[in-house]
């Protein structure tokens, strides 16, 4: 049995030696989901990082723990990595839209108002896609808006028409909105942090007074 100085480890009764383990099969650690957060009300959602999870619901829980535990957050989106389509990456001063050559698919008979347009779009089997831009390499993708399209490729062309003026655009992510799990406005109290957790903030630790007092005592003590 494994011996340890640490009684808590010794109690586990772990074996002293074990054969090496076999390589794990794929997805033993689950697939990944990409997470976007909203730092405060009214700001755009921005990419924060991935989580590994067995389902979108669990991914949301992990994401909340991982990405909102320590920083302000007012909303979160989670989507499976495999649901994201992306362009290639260009340089920090370029726009990736400039490298898209295909022209936009045109739709005959523009509708007089937006709700008509929407109704027609749904009738054509189109859906909402969320568009994210990366403005600078090493930074995070930010949500710039929604487009309506029948495929990710078409959504990208729609995005070019809607947001193609922006500069620079290093990389674009396109996600079908139906593949995104979003936090609910009604549940917004889940983002409020209890004020009793100050002990996790650097600012809660003020030791200079104690150090100064100690130094004074040392200076005053006859031993010195």
């Amino acid at each position: 049995m494994l011996t340890s100085l640490d009684p808590r480890i010794a109690r586990l009764g772990l074996p002293d030696s074990q054969p090496t383990i076999e390589p794990k099969e794929a997805l033993d650690q689950f697939e990944t989901f990409e997470v976007f957060h909203q730092k405060k009300d009214g700001t755009a959602y921005a990419y924060v990082g991935p989580v590994h999870a067995p389902s979108a619901d669990v991914a949301f829980l992990f994401a909340k723990e991982q990405y909102s535990r320590r920083f302000p957050c007012t909303g979160m989106w989670v989507t499976p990595t495999r649901a994201i389509s992306l362009t290639r990456y260009v340089g920090d001063t370029e726009s990736v839209y400039d490298t898209l050559t295909e022209s936009l698919p045109t739709h005959a008979g523009a509708a007089p108002d937006e709700s008509m347009q929407q109704a027609e779009a749904y009738a054509r089997g189109e859906e909402d896609y969320a568009i994210f831009h990366l403005k600078k390499r090493g930074k995070a993708h930010v949500h710039v808006g929604m487009v309506r399209a029948a495929s990710p490729a078409e959504a990208l062309l729609q995005a070019k028409a809607a947001f193609g003026e922006q500069r620079p655009v290093v990389n674009v992510w396109v996600v079908r909105w139906a593949d995104v799990l979003t936090s609910d406005e009604e549940d917004r109290d889940i983002w409020s942090t209890t004020p009793e957790k100050k002990y996790r903030d650097a600012i809660a630790y003020k030791v200079q007074d104690r150090i100064d007092r100690f130094k004074q005592e040392q200076a005053a003590s006859p031993a010195n």
Partner: protein, 332 residues
């Protein structure tokens, strides 16, 4: 928290493999880094760049996981409710850092499954300091303060590196580490300015930890073609010696001002050169311990393995329900 990756670098005599790279792509890659642009996962990158980054980020992730074990075991015995809560929050942060880092390494093409297998089988390394024990609460405090301080020196440098996903992860990690550093300092100051017994405990813990701390950044870098290339590619951002000097500059005064002594009679700052002089750390011991013969190597991996084994049925059950049949690496 983090340990120097460079102690486990590619051997200096190994080939850089650059002769196998497309010269045009390589030139564009180097020009991008020289312009100050970051590299993103889908970009062309030389095999050596990919290999060294996987090694570094993976070791960093393992260090976070293994490093949380000696501190985690002190949660239940931490003196007072507030310190238990804080110690718990710190350990949770460290484990979270590992998740961020595993994902960043994954973007380079090594799966998390493989990283975990390599850790448990002893094939991948982690920061060597965690192969030493924490017999008292004061030892845990030394980790919280000084090991994290060393880690921050390293991480702040690496955050300016060239690989986008690693930079994004480090930005978050550094923000959280600022709490660890203050918390650790607070705990050490509390003990060092406390009762004679507390002071003695703290001094003894520092005496135990000083030699591992001095090896934390690894031996002086050998002048090699690899070092030169990795610095140019902004994979390695500062030499091991420079990191150690920076650490001593920042923390020796803070250790001395609370009445602790440093167990190295040769430690002094040479005012002429501006460099710290010290007794040369025992690099043979470092090598021996890294390769498995340290006081806690076996224990750390056994505990990690037990966690892995105990959770296997949960992962199996969840996976059985999973719809996605194909592995996709994270995007950024």
């Amino acid at each position: 928290m983090y340990g120097s990756a460079s102690t486990h670098d590619i051997p200096a005599n190994a080939s850089t493999g650059l002769e196998n790279e497309d010269p045009q792509l390589l030139a564009a890659f180097e020009a991008r880094i020289a312009r100050g642009e970051k590299i993103e996962p889908d970009d062309y990158m030389p095999a050596l760049y990919r290999k060294q980054l996987i090694r570094m980020i993976e070791q960093h992730a393992h260090s976070e996981i293994i490093g949380s074990l000696p501190e985690g075991t002190w949660i239940t015995r931490a003196p007072g409710f507030r310190r238990k809560m804080a110690q718990m929050a710190k350990v949770q942060d460290e484990v979270g850092h590992a998740q961020l880092l595993y994902s960043a390494a994954e973007t380079l093409g090594k799966t998390r499954e493989d990283m975990i297998t390599d850790l448990i089988n002893g094939k991948s390394k982690y920061s060597n300091v965690f192969n030493y024990p924490t017999p008292t609460w004061a030892d845990s405090n030394v980790i919280s303060w000084l090991i994290d301080a060393g880690a921050i020196v390293n991480q702040m440098a690496n955050a300016k590196g060239s690989y986008g996903p690693y930079c994004r992860a480090l930005e978050r990690i550094c923000a959280e580490e600022s709490f660890h550093l203050k918390y650790g300092h607070d705990a050490v100051v509390h003990m060092a300015t406390g009762t004679p017994t507390q002071r003695r405990m703290m001094q003894e813990a520092l005496n135990r930890w000083w030699p591992p701390i001095m090896t934390f950044f690894g031996p002086a870098d050998k002048a090699s073609q690899h070092t030169e290339i990795l610095m140019r590619w902004k994979v390695k951002m500062a030499s091991n010696d420079d990191c150690r000097q920076q650490f001593l500059d920042m923390y020796v005064p803070k250790i001395l001002e609370i009445g602790l002594t440093i167990p190295d009679p040769n430690l002094r700052k040479n005012e002429e050169t501006g460099r710290w002089e010290y007794t040369e750390p025992d690099w043979e011991e470092l090598k021996r311990v890294i390769n498995g013969d340290g006081p806690c190597n076996k224990e750390r991996l056994a505990v990690r393995r037990a966690a892995e084994d105990n959770g296997a049925w949960v992962r199996r059950a969840l996976k059985a329900k999973q719809q996605a049949p194909k592995y996709v690496r994270p995007l950024a």
